[in-house]
């Protein structure tokens, strides 16, 4: 495999990890906003507790994606941030408010030091961020970013406000809600577990509906991407994603909660991998190839080696983190949210 494909694979892996971990945290914001019923306060509380120690680590995946992107594919980084100036700025503002509001809320939780309104800010920002990021990814795949001789010629609005891009935004948002609900089923007990199960079922139906209807939208609005879907590897990965998605539905239906997080994460990983397989060998559809925008071999080698060494440090550290903070919550009622 050429080095640049390996580096592109690393960026895709980063994106998958960010979706699997960071995406679930955005989903936590979605379910904080949609908390309902007699246990609404406990639902928010359980999400807050589950996210508290890990959200910042989960956020770092995004930083790794950005640095890997500008190290390995500097011209593509420049083109993407020029072409997608508006959605990326909105996503960035969302990231800042999401993170700060969560940290402020968590800091003040259970003490008198809290600030009012932080849960609301956290929730709204948790919706806006994945939505605009998904729209930006949709613009990359949809083939509406125009680049001539290395200069972005498309405007600041069109590429990401196309129907296909909007569909991708909705899919990204649904993925977040889907993951969070599935992950929470193993952390909750009793009636709250049922509530997260219902939310998970709802989200998986919605995800299935959105991804299915994205296909005709792609045919109509994202022709280059539609053409790439015929690639056999892409078809195989997408078929696996469909199977995994149906499995995750069955898992939750039958209340096999232990399996819920891995099948949900697997579904999302396969959906994103399917998108990546379809994109290959293009970085930005329809014209910019991975090989056109890759940095030199010395840079790619240095990057890949450092990431491999980093993985040796990070994987056990991450395991320690998640094992230390994986316990069930939702037992006795805790005081409500402001």
């Amino acid at each position: 495999m050429p080095l640049e494909d390996l580096a592109a694979g690393v960026v895709l892996l980063g994106l998958i990890a960010y979706a699997m971990f960071g995406g679930a945290d955005f989903g936590g914001g979605v379910w904080t906003a949609l908390a309902s019923g007699p246990r609404a306060a406990q639902q928010r509380e359980a999400i807050l507790r589950a996210m508290g120690p890990v959200w910042e680590t989960n956020h770092v995946w995004l930083i790794l994606i950005i640095v890997a992107l500008f190290t390995a594919f500097p011209p593509a980084f420049a083109d993407l941030f020029t072409a997608l100036l508006v959605p990326l700025t909105i996503a960035l503002v969302g990231i800042v408010f999401r993170g700060a509001a969560f940290a402020f809320r968590h800091f003040g939780h259970g003490t008198e030091a809290g600030l009012p309104g932080m849960a609301a800010v956290f929730s709204v920002a948790s919706v806006i961020t994945p939505l605009t990021m998904g729209m930006a990814l949709g613009a990359i795949a949809g083939g509406h970013i125009a680049i001539e001789d290395g200069v972005v010629t498309s405007g600041i609005w069109e590429p990401w406000l196309r129907p296909f891009s909007i569909f991708c935004g909705l899919i990204a948002l649904t993925i977040c809600g889907f993951l969070a609900a599935y992950y929470m089923t193993v952390r909750a007990t009793g009636e709250m577990q049922e509530e997260f199960r219902n939310r998970g079922l709802l989200a998986s139906f919605l995800l299935g509906a959105l991804t299915t209807s994205a296909l005709p939208v792609a045919y109509w609005d994202a022709e280059p991407f539609w053409d790439e879907l015929a690639d056999p590897t892409a078809l195989a990965v997408i078929a696996a994603a469909v199977v995994m998605g149906l499995t995750s539905l069955v898992v939750l239906w039958r209340r096999w909660y232990v399996l819920a997080p891995p099948v949900a994460a697997g579904t999302v990983a396969l959906v994103i991998a399917g998108w990546g397989a379809a994109q290959h060998p293009y970085f930005i559809l329809p014209d910019e190839r991975i090989s056109d925008v890759a940095a030199g071999d010395a840079t790619l080698t240095a990057l890949l080696i450092s990431l491999a060494i980093g993985a040796i440090i990070l994987i056990p550290s991450l395991a320690l983190l998640y094992v230390t903070f994986s316990e069930k919550t939702g037992g006795p009622a805790v005081e409500g949210e402001r």
């Binding site: 503002v93 800091f107 440090i313």
Partner: protein, 444 residues
């Protein structure tokens, strides 16, 4: 509204000025946690344990603000400076990638530290501070090495406007790196030490002379006392490096317009860029030449000897340089006063004036860090990559950056206001002193 380049520069400057404070705390505070909890483990002194607990709680929120403000910067590379990144990404992306790994490690162990009081054994918990200290210092190394490269670009050749023969490791180990990295990392320990001391000096001024406050004050000042003299030496070495390798930046720092043998050291003064002279400075004869070249009669190049479209604005460099150096020596004076007095009286009993001076250092460290940042950034202008790419050439071709600037100024105001409110409320929380170890209520 500003034009694109001015808006982009302003936004980048505001973003870095904001982030750099949290980055400094993120580097300095782990060291204080390591020492405080280490003392608690060794002596069983509950005061130090409470100290570490309270600082860790605050570290959680400061680190979060540091993480989001750092994310802003990584996006701004693309949003504001895509042309620069197109050229540089393949050269200086590598240290950023390694920094990403270091930051990842830091986030993981910070979470284990902050939320692991009841879940890890006391020793395992304390051990978490070691990867924190190491990875935060490593982050400083990798990030600042990039700024070193912008000042002393190495590790590539340019063919048809593209970088070729890239050696990312050579780029990282550029000539400016050792000086900038040392100065930046030491600054973090100094500023954090004084910030902590300043907080407890204010508490003492308000009449709280408890054992907890006294011990915390001494710990903060002790860290500051170790690192302040080292920082002054590192500053001297950096200035000497600049005199040799970036003479226009050095000339701007010193307000040196005419090339001069036996140049004076100017303290204060107002560089007049119209009349090309620095007025009303206290001039110490020949000392400028000596500090730059270890020779009282050495020639120091003045700004007039460079092409006039390739020099920085002396005012933007000289004033912050004076501020930084002035603060550095004031800090040295404060720790000498404090520990001198303690040694003389054989007890820790600072008077009101000394406490006021320590309280003043609470913001001064961060002001000095930003002033130093102004010196290095304004001093490199008009270049974004020294003598290779102008700042104006690196900016985005997009319009509307002025609007984004406005949006982010509001974001920073909101963040600052939220954080200030939160910390003011935290101050009113009582300590949990006296609770037996392991049974203190969990902070979350």
């Amino acid at each position: 509204m500003f034009d694109t380049v001015t808006s982009a520069r302003t936004l980048m400057g505001v973003s870095l000025g904001f982030h750099i404070c949290f980055a400094a705390i993120g580097i300095g505070l782990p060291l204080l946690l390591l020492i405080a909890e280490g003392i608690a483990l060794r002596t069983g002194d509950e005061t130090y344990r409470q100290m570490a607990k309270r600082w860790a709680r605050i570290a959680a929120v400061l680190f979060a603000v540091g993480a989001v403000s750092g994310t802003i910067l990584s996006f701004e590379f693309g949003l504001l400076w895509p042309t620069w990144m197109d050229f540089s990404g393949g050269i200086i992306g590598f240290p950023f990638a390694v920094e990403g790994i270091a930051f990842f490690t830091e986030a993981i162990f910070l979470a284990l530290y902050i939320y692991g009081w009841d879940r890890l054994s006391p020793v395992a918990h304390w051990l978490c501070t070691i990867p924190l200290v190491v990875s935060s210092a490593a982050s400083a190394f990798f990030v600042i090495s990039v700024n070193g490269w912008m000042n002393q670009p190495e590790g590539f050749a340019v063919v048809n406007g593209k970088a070729v023969n890239v050696d990312p490791v050579a780029a990282m180990f550029n000539a400016a790196m050792p000086y900038e990295v040392t100065h930046g990392a030491l600054a973090s320990y100094v500023a954090t030490g004084f910030a902590v001391a300043g907080i407890y000096a204010i508490a003492m001024l308000r009449g709280d002379r408890s054992e907890y406050v006294r011990k915390a004050l001494v710990l903060g000042l002790a860290v500051a006392a170790v690192f302040t003299p080292l920082q002054i030496i590192s500053g001297d070495l950096s200035a000497r490096f600049l005199a040799h390798n970036q003479p226009e930046k050095f000339a701007a720092m010193e307000g040196q317009f005419e090339t001069e043998e036996g140049a004076p050291l100017r303290i204060g003064g107002f560089p007049d860029t119209e009349d090309r002279t620095t007025r009303y400075a206290i001039e110490i004869p020949n000392l400028g030449s000596f500090l730059a070249f270890e020779d009282f009669d050495a020639e120091v190049r003045g700004l007039n000897s460079f092409p006039q479209d390739e020099i920085p604005d002396a005012r933007l460099v000289h004033y912050p340089f004076q501020a930084m150096v002035g603060i550095g020596f004031f800090m040295l004076f404060v720790v000498a006063w404090f520990f001198g007095l303690a040694w003389w009286r054989k007890r820790i009993d600072p008077g009101r004036l000394l406490l006021l001076a320590i309280a003043a250092t609470l913001p001064l460290g961060f002001i000095a860090i930003n002033a130093g940042w102004f010196v290095t950034e304004f001093g490199r202008q008009p270049w974004i990559i020294y003598q290779l790419m102008r700042t104006s050439e690196g900016a985005t071709p997009r319009d509307g950056i002025g609007f984004i600037l406005l949006v982010f100024i509001l974001v920073y105001i909101a963040l600052t206001a939220g954080l200030a409110l939160l910390l003011l409320r935290e101050r009113r929380r009582p300590l949990e002193l006296g609770a037996p170890p392991g049974e203190a209520p969990h902070a979350s």
